[in-house]
Amino acid sequence: MVEHVKPIQPTWCPGCGDFGVMAAVKKGVLELKIPSENLVLVGGIGCSGGIHNFMDGYGFHALHGRLLPTAIGVKLANPKLTVVAIGGDGDGYAIGMGHFVHALKKNTSITYIVMNNETYGLTKGQASPTSHVGFEGNVEPPVDAILTALSIPAAAFIARGFSGTPKEATALVTEALRFTQERKGFAFVEILSPCVTYNDTYDLWREKVEDVGKRPGYDKADRGKAFSTVLDVMHSGKIPVGEIYRTPDDQLYTSLDRTLLPNPAEAPATVDISVAANLARYEKMLASLE
């Protein structure tokens, strides 16, 4: 077969949390038997965003903060593809915040993975929107993307993992991929991914993560409950992780790709656009002009 681009060695610092995230994605892809030619990885700009260079598949390095519109464009052009947008917390929650909220609203069947290291790694450790007060002079209380995702009515799959607990992270990523493979909509997974160079939080986070699913009576189908539980966990000084929210199948809004393109085989990137194939309809359309 034709030789194609080979993944290069990751350019991450040894020990970077992103290695764990990539392992989880690779395992999920393997588990779901997604052929590499159907896999489109849309990377953000940041250390994290280089991931597509280190994996087998179609890679697209989007502009800083624009990976979601790009990924949605790919999916709406060809819904048969498995589209994974993957980038950093700066990329996604700072410059990309508007697109993040609107991607949740648009509800296209793509997976979005944020490698949250609570800093801007690639530009050398400035505070990001998730940095706590005091980090590198930061004075603004951080945002929590899980809470914000919960606030969007269309958001149907919301999870958080930790690259230090690879089994759980892998399970979440795999579940997200499955969700989008079934064209159920947008799946959002944030993975805590320590930056060993500028924000080495492995030990701290290992101590702090709390699986909300283990809270007695937790109901991941209850958005309001999920929201207040997440808040509670945060107030107790912990970091909520797990499959935090999931809309039951029978209550799902139809995903955008399914609404617009019910038959994935007939899509912008793949329909026959030759004049011959469309002749009759074109002629009728042009004839209808007055």
């Binding site: 681009v5 179609y58 890679g59 519109p69 790009t70 464009g73 004049v275 002629e283």
Partner: protein, 619 residues
């Protein structure tokens, strides 16, 4: 007259002879201005007139001057109809329909000596000479329960005063409103009849004049925005993302209606950043994709434009220009985004900037742009302007003649399978690399806005950088024979030249006619490719005449300046307008006469024209 380039549109190729003095009150070329309050539907009168004259075989050119607000404020629309092809507003109005005193205050000075005013009694406080005052809105309210019917009443009255064919006019009303509901049909027809009746009872001659019938056949009424949208569909465009903005929104609205029928996707994005990046994503995935916007949105797309350049993504961006800078005047006409279109975005990459001059040109170039984008794998900017985009004009019926889809080096799976190795950015002679789309086995690649090697992996190697820059930039040179050629209109032997693009097309053509009648024959280089600057056709054109007037709607004489940066042409004069209103032929002709008087007469330049195309890295 002769055309250096075969004219695609025979009816434009013939010399226009508009603005002839009305012969015995049988008009061959007339214009009706309707002025009222924004949002009260004043445009409807113009629209009905256009449809009537269109049905009568005349050439129609509608234009408007509205404020960027939904109701209130002064809004005006003019409808021109001529036996000869026309693509511009008329300097003088033959009729003014006044739904507001402002229509008279502002419009009266443009009323021709023989013209008349039809005024709504209720609002016209200070009627001018030749005014027919009728109780239009009062009757609309009393007899039909809604003052908005005033528009159709006025149209009915005009049918009497302008000697229109009553049945045809009535049918126009029926067609326009009949589709909505039976009630709309009936009420509007009543309104028409009321108008007829009111006018019949009015004092003064009836009709005031009659209008000659035209012979235009197989024409349709279209705006440039609409024509572009149809071109997009027919050219295989299947993905569009945009964000509402005046005056570009109609492109999206038109596509919303038609594209889904072809399994196409039209998305209103959350902003222009999203729109352009969705478009890039879809184009990357293999869809022919476009976005359309106006200045402010286009400025927001600046970063992504360069991304398309570096990542080699075929994409079309339409900028339907309005008055800038910043929010400027959203509803008014200008062509001041040229510099931005050519030079915006940090760093250097190839792009084409194309500019159609009339609706069919927008259709044609719209189709061609999709082929060019895929063939040369780069971003293409289509520069429209408010006048071309929004003004409804008579246009030859759009056809599929010559339409074909050329996807350039997009590989089939078979062709891909036959390769030993697939590299997205492989170095090739023409700078264009074979392309795959996701889903193709073995076509996996890295597509990126970082500098990269042939595989698409990040590289800062200096030799690679030089070769990649050359690979991308040489296309600006190599693609030239492929790009929309200019159309040269007028006399081959003329010593006076015009250069223009976009909406100045109509006024320049008409000015040529006016000048010709004064013994000044001219040639007009209608530029359709603005970047790369088509120096290979511009230089001979500049050499062929004594003086060239570059006519454009901006302050800096942008196209003139751009041309100058490639040639030492000593015979360029700028005619610019940047007040938001569009040129009329008389203005241009007047400028030319004035300048020719000032300079005694232009003489052939003694200095040869030198071109500088190979600056720097040499594209």
């Amino acid at each position: 007259m002769s055309e250096s380039v075969v004219a695609a549109h025979p009816e434009h190729a013939s010399q226009t002879t508009p603005s002839q003095p009305p012969v015995a009150r049988v008009l061959r070329d007339l214009s009706v201005l309707t002025g009222g309050q924004g949002g009260d539907g004043t445009l409807t009168v113009s629209d009905l007139l256009a449809r009537y004259f269109h049905a009568q075989g005349m050439y129609v050119y509608n234009s408007r001057s509205v404020l960027s607000r939904i109701r209130g404020g002064y809004a005006a629309a003019s409808s021109r109809a001529s036996v000869e092809p026309t693509m511009a507003q008329k300097a003088l109005q033959d009729v003014i329909v006044a739904f507001h005193q402002d229509a008279i205050t502002f419009g009266e000075k443009t009323l021709s000596a023989d013209g008349f005013i039809l005024g709504d009694e209720k609002v016209v406080t200070n009627p001018g000479q030749n005014t027919v005052l009728l109780p239009i809105s009062i009757t609309a309210a009393s007899k039909l329960g809604n003052p908005l019917y005033k528009n159709v009443i006025a149209f009915g009255a005009l049918s009497v005063l302008m000697g229109m064919d009553r049945e045809v006019a009535r049918k126009v009303v029926e067609q326009r409103f009949g589709r909505r509901s039976e009630e709309a049909r009936a009420k509007n027809l009543s309104a028409f009849d009321i108008g007829v009746e009111l006018a019949a009872k009015s004092p003064g001659p009836k009709p005031r004049f009659s209008v000659e019938r035209g012979t235009a056949k197989d024409q349709v009424l279209l705006t440039g925005n609409q024509a572009l949208a149809y071109g997009f569909v027919v050219g295989g465009g299947r993905f569009f993302a945009g964000y509402p903005i005046t005056p570009a929104t109609p492109v999206m609205e038109t596509l919303m209606k038609i594209l889904p029928q072809y399994h196409g996707v039209v998305r209103q994005a959350e902003d222009e950043l999203s729109a352009i990046n969705m478009t890039l994503g879809a184009a990357y995935a293999g869809a022919r994709a476009m976005t359309a916007t106006s200045g402010p949105g286009f400025s927001l797309m600046t970063e992504a434009l360069g991304h398309a350049g570096e990542a080699e993504i075929p994409v079309v961006i339409t900028d339907c220009q309005r008055v800038g800078p910043s929010t400027g005047e959203p509803t008014r006409n200008e062509q001041s985004d040229l510099f931005h279109a050519v030079f915006a975005s940090h760093g250097e990459f190839p792009r084409f900037v194309l500019a159609p001059g009339f609706p069919q040109d927008a259709y044609d170039i719209g189709i061609q742009a999709l082929n060019l984008a895929e063939k040369w794998q780069l971003p293409i900017i289509l520069l429209l302007d408010q006048a071309l985009g929004e003004n409804m004009q008579t246009t030859p019926r759009l056809t599929l003649k010559g339409v074909s889809v050329d996807r350039g080096k997009l590989l089939s799976q078979e062709a891909l399978d036959a390769l030993a190795a697939y590299k997205r950015y492989e170095f090739t002679k023409d700078g264009v690399s074979p392309r795959t789309i996701p889903g193709m086995k073995g076509g996996q690649s890295q597509v990126t806005g970082n500098e990269h090697d042939e595989w698409g992996h990040v590289s800062v190697n200096v030799e690679n950088r030089k070769m990649m820059m050359a690979k991308r930039m040489t296309r600006l040179r190599l693609a030239k024979p492929d790009l929309p050629p200019p159309i040269i209109w007028g006399d081959e032997k003329a010593r006076v030249g015009f250069i223009g693009f976009g909406c100045t097309f109509g006024p320049i053509r008409e000015a040529q006619g006016l000048l010709k009648r004064k013994g000044i024959s001219s040639r007009f280089y209608q530029a359709r490719t603005l970047w790369p600057v088509p120096i290979e056709t511009l230089a001979p054109f500049l050499s062929s005449v004594d003086v060239v007037f570059v006519v454009e709607h901006n302050f800096m004489g942008q196209f003139a300046r751009l041309i100058r940066s490639f040639v030492t042409a000593h015979n360029i004069e700028s005619i610019v307008k940047y007040d938001g209103s569009s040129f009329v032929a008389e203005e241009i002709a007047g400028h030319v006469e004035q300048m020719m008087k000032e300079h005694a007469s232009y003489v052939p330049s003694k200095t040869p024209i030198v071109t500088y195309e190979s600056e720097g890295g040499g594209f």
